[in-house]
């Protein structure tokens, strides 16, 4: 194809047989004859087709790829429910200290006291922040935290001889909530939201029963709205014998303002890659610590970090009622170091400022954008809000088109078509790390796009115009999947 020249090469297409970059110590022990130590038929016959490339070309390849990517450091990233805040550089430095990055998870515990101290303190800090009695740092991500929490809820009910099989989730919940409930062995009931965007109490009452294991709630919800009836909701669930699960995806809005533990939640997970500034890494790694109230402590995953009588920290695998192990070793330690560094940097005053400015920025942005876009719920929002693109539809412009047009201005678009209960949804979360000037500039762009949708809709519908590629054929990608490179056969 004539356009082929514009393709950014794959690393495999830069490969040349015989080219080498690697540098290894010289083998200083007697070499072994493979046939004497590897069983017959177990020597690799055909080497994996790895690229053969020089060091400088490798660096240029990945540097080139990085320039085809947008991160928080590249520009504003108001992706709702993802809390794309600035990732502090000092945290990166801290995690790379050799005393953290070059320790083996199975070293004798006396030789990793610093690491265990850090984990122990981080557990305590997160307990304080969430108002829970104990925290496990093991789950690798938010969804893993949900699953861990739900497994504990299951163990709790089973230990009391109760057969509770259902988990209730609101229709605005993240997809991981029902999926995690399913992999923890529960069935889910979805209940609708009321006209103010909160849990419909009537629907909740109807759904509750002696088979209710838990209600999973994100508060503020994915609509960015605080659940005003939370006290009554907690009471209803508890009276039915169920537990309350807090999805901490939106904890950025509540730091120092209210705590899940005080609201009545029994289990909570946090996303350190959202609220606690650890980088999203292009999709991971994250960390999803889970906190519990006293009654659920026996079920926490092993190992637990304990402080022994001789004042040394240790790993304890001794917990009969524990749900067991949920991850290799002790969690995503490198991420936990970054989160700890962040908490030390902010302190209690700083963390409260985080929620204040996150909420201030969101309300300011919502107010200014309401000039040209439909606000889904007319009330104070928390750290994020949802707009509906339904008014633009008369000119044939969809929310997807608006998102693609935003790309032309160097911003990452909001989350779109989520939550599911708002038509043509755009979910916007500015975070506290953005300045008023950044928000104002974004507003100008959004107003311009709204105007374009009226006057020159084709510009919006055909966007983006400024990116390295334009809209991709996702149908083809799914219909005839090409999921790996294969070397063209030479004729």
């Amino acid at each position: 194809m004539s356009r082929q020249a514009e393709n950014f090469p794959l690393i495999f297409e830069r490969s040349k047989p015989g080219r080498k970059a690697y540098s290894l110590p010289v083998l200083d022990v007697p070499d072994v004859e493979l046939s004497t130590v590897v069983p017959d038929g177990y020597q690799r016959k055909e080497m994996a087709a790895l690229p053969e490339i020089s060091e400088v070309d490798l660096v240029r390849h990945y540097t080139g790829l990085s320039t085809r990517n947008h991160g928080v450091d590249s520009g504003f990233y108001p992706l709702g429910s993802c809390t794309m805040k600035y990732n502090p550089k000092r945290n990166e430095l801290a995690a790379r200290l050799t005393g953290f990055s070059q320790i083996h998870p199975l070293q004798p515990t006396e030789t990793v006291q610093g690491a265990l101290t850090l984990l122990y303190r981080l557990q305590n800090h997160l307990s304080e922040i969430t108002g829970m009695d104990a925290v496990s740092l093991q789950p690798a991500a938010g969804a893993a935290g949900e699953w861990t929490g739900l497994m504990m809820i299951r163990a709790y009910h089973e230990a009391r001889g109760e057969k509770r099989t259902r988990v209730i989730v609101p229709d605005s919940a993240h997809g991981t909530n029902p999926a995690s409930a399913a992999v923890a062995g529960f069935t889910t009931i979805t209940i609708p939201s009321n006209e103010r965007g909160g849990v419909d109490l009537e629907a909740l009452r109807d759904a509750l029963g002696n088979d209710t294991a838990a209600l999973m709630l994100t508060n503020p919800s994915t609509l960015g709205l605080f659940e005003e009836d939370i006290v009554e909701i907690a009471d209803l669930v508890h009276r039915a014998g169920g537990l309350l699960y807090y999805d901490g995806a939106n904890a950025n809005a509540i730091l120092g303002q209210t705590r899940p533990g005080d609201m009545g939640f029994d289990v909570v997970h946090l996303n350190l890659h959202k609220t606690f500034t650890t980088p999203h890494g292009g999709g991971g790694p994250g960390a999803g610590p889970v906190g519990v109230k006293r009654d659920l402590i026996p079920y926490l995953p092993v190992p637990r970090i304990v402080l022994r009588e001789d004042n040394l920290y240790d790993l304890s695998f001794d917990a009969k009622a524990s749900i067991g192990k949920v991850k290799g070793f002790y969690g995503n330690f490198g991420i936990l170091v970054r989160a700890y560094a962040y908490i030390l940097t902010m302190g209690p005053v700083g963390l409260k400022r985080v929620s204040e400015d996150a909420v201030l920025n969101a309300n300011y942005l919502m107010k200014r954008l309401s000039e040209a876009y439909d606000v889904a719920f007319e009330r104070i929002c928390k750290h994020e809000f949802v707009l509906s693109g339904r008014t633009l539809k008369k000119n044939g412009v969809k929310t997807l088109d608006v998102a693609k047009r935003i790309l032309d201005f160097g911003y990452h678009p909001p989350t779109i078509y989520f939550p599911l209960n708002v038509e043509e949804a755009m979910m916007i979360e500015p975070t506290e790390t953005e300045s008023k000037e950044t928000l104002d500039a974004f507003v100008e762009v959004m107003l311009q796009i709204a105007k374009e949708a009226e006057e020159t809709p084709e510009i919006v519908k055909n966007a983006p115009h400024q990116t390295v590629i334009n809209r991709l054929d996702e149908t083809q990608a799914a219909r005839a999947p090409v999921l790996r490179y294969r070397k063209p056969t030479v004729l």
Partner: protein
């Protein structure tokens, strides 16, 4: 009084006033009026006061110094996390902030960098493991086994999984948690001389078995007869899940070529630092027929409106954000940055480099084992091994490990918890980082202690 300033919060007092005025409220407090007073948190959280960058770094350096870094030790610890040479290009590339400060590539037009990197990663993993397709990575080697086993149950509509006793006990523990969640039964196949007992396997290969889980090289380092297990299992239409070590595949036959249906691995050895156990990445590759059940993100190639090649996340109908409670897995993220490190590592090493690393691991492990046996330790298994092996240090095992530890020699992982046979046994891993002089020094010390 002036507001305390924080490096990551730009709003000035004046900004705040102007913004409140635009919103039309008179105080910040008004923005939190929707939180019922009964659950409002009054006062300040009980946390240490904010520290400057300098103070915070000093505090973290102080904690880091309380750990013995492997730079200051001789360590033969392995058992799922391995010390290897990490080329400087790896950290340089994953430190590009366009990569590490980005999120999931939901907007492909401005995410081609990470999407293409994932596509290349998928290619590398498929090549290395000898199977058709890879996803964009899972959390780690332990959870990858759990995901693979659940996937096998869903595909075969059977709910029993056989697991060899030679699979890493931590991985087996994580698999058990997954299995309890989804009402799947797991059953252990015993080992003989550090290798899966095929007689017991045959006896347990019944019609309700979804999959056999094997490790290659296994937890003890020995090279399992994967080909024979695949033949036995496939006769009963049972899937074979092989957990492997990607470095070993530089010279050992790929599990795919040996007949495995699903290959999983801890990807840490590929350019990822030890970091006290994480973050790492879980590798998973499958045969084409299992693609629609593969959990996690997958990147695919397509074209834009002008025919230019580009990449998108694809086959999302499998995933939780579309299928919700009907999804095959709840996994939402991947370990993109760790997968990027693995890709950079493999691209840098190339086929010859990976072979060299594997060969050095093999040669040095065999040399070290001979030295330690000459020094008085006893071999526990006789089977062929890659870069890990088990030694028995006799009844004074604990004191010996303790004495060596005082000189920052971490001789190995004690296997006491595996039962009486391993009461005094230690698992050692040897790689290209171990100089002959270090091995000789430890052998000398050991001789004096045994």
């Amino acid at each position: 009084m002036d507001m305390q300033s924080f490096s990551y919060i730009p709003n000035t007092e004046q900004d705040r006033r102007e913004m409140l005025a635009t919103i039309g409220v008179d105080s910040l407090d008004a923005l939190f009026s929707d939180i019922p007073d009964a659950v409002r948190f009054k006062g300040l959280l009980n946390l240490p006061d904010a520290m400057s960058e300098y103070e915070m770094m000093n505090e973290l350096k102080r904690l880091a110094r309380q750990n013995v870094s492997l730079e200051d030790a001789i360590s033969f610890l392995g058992a799922g996390a391995y010390q290897h040479v990490i080329p400087s290009v790896v950290d340089a590339m994953i430190s590009r902030s366009e990569f590490y400060t980005a999120y999931t590539p939901y907007q492909p037009e401005i995410s081609q960098g990470i999407l293409q990197a994932i596509f290349e990663y998928q290619t590398l993993m498929a090549e290395l493991t000898g199977l058709d397709v890879s996803n964009a990575s899972l959390y780690d080697g332990a959870t990858a086994i759990g995901e693979a086993a659940m996937m096998a149950c869903s595909h075969t509509r059977r709910n029993r999984v056989l697991v060899s006793a030679t699979v890493n006990p931590d991985y087996r523990a994580v698999l058990d948690t997954y299995a309890r969640g989804q009402h799947v039964e797991t059953d252990t196949i015993a080992e003989i001389d550090g290798v899966t007992d095929h007689t017991e396997l045959v006896a347990k290969l019944q019609d309700d078995v979804a999959a056999v889980v094997l490790q290659y090289p296994n937890f003890f380092g020995t090279i399992e007869d994967v080909r024979a297990v695949c033949e036995l299992a496939h006769e009963k239409k049972v899937l074979v899940i092989v957990s492997t070590n990607p470095i070993a595949l530089g010279l050992l036959e790929s599990p795919g070529a040996l007949g495995a249906d699903i290959v999983v691995a801890e990807g840490q050895p590929l350019g990822n630092s030890l970091s006290f156990g994480g973050p790492y990445l879980g590798i998973i590759t499958v045969k084409e027929a299992l693609l629609r059940k593969l959990p996690g993100r997958i990147a695919g190639q397509t074209v834009d409106r002008e025919g230019r090649r580009g990449f998108v996340l694809t086959l999302q109908a499998r995933e939780q954000h579309i299928r919700r409670e009907k999804a095959s897995s709840n996994i939402c993220s991947n370990q993109a940055l760790n997968a990027l490190a693995a890709s950079v590592y493999l691209s840098y090493m190339g086929p010859d480099g990976l072979y060299d690393v594997a060969k050095q691991c093999l040669a040095k492990a065999h040399y070290a084992r001979d030295c330690f046996i000459k020094a008085g330790a006893k071999a526990v298994h006789q089977a062929a091994f890659f870069h890990e092996f088990v030694l028995d240090l006799g009844p004074r095992s604990e004191q010996i490990l303790d004495t060596l530890k005082k000189d920052n020699i971490f001789f190995g992982v004690p296997l006491r918890s595996l039962g009486s046979r391993y009461e005094n046994a230690v698992l050692l891993a040897v790689t290209e980082v171990h100089a002959k002089s270090a091995i000789d020094e430890v052998a000398n010390r050991l001789e004096g202690l045994l």
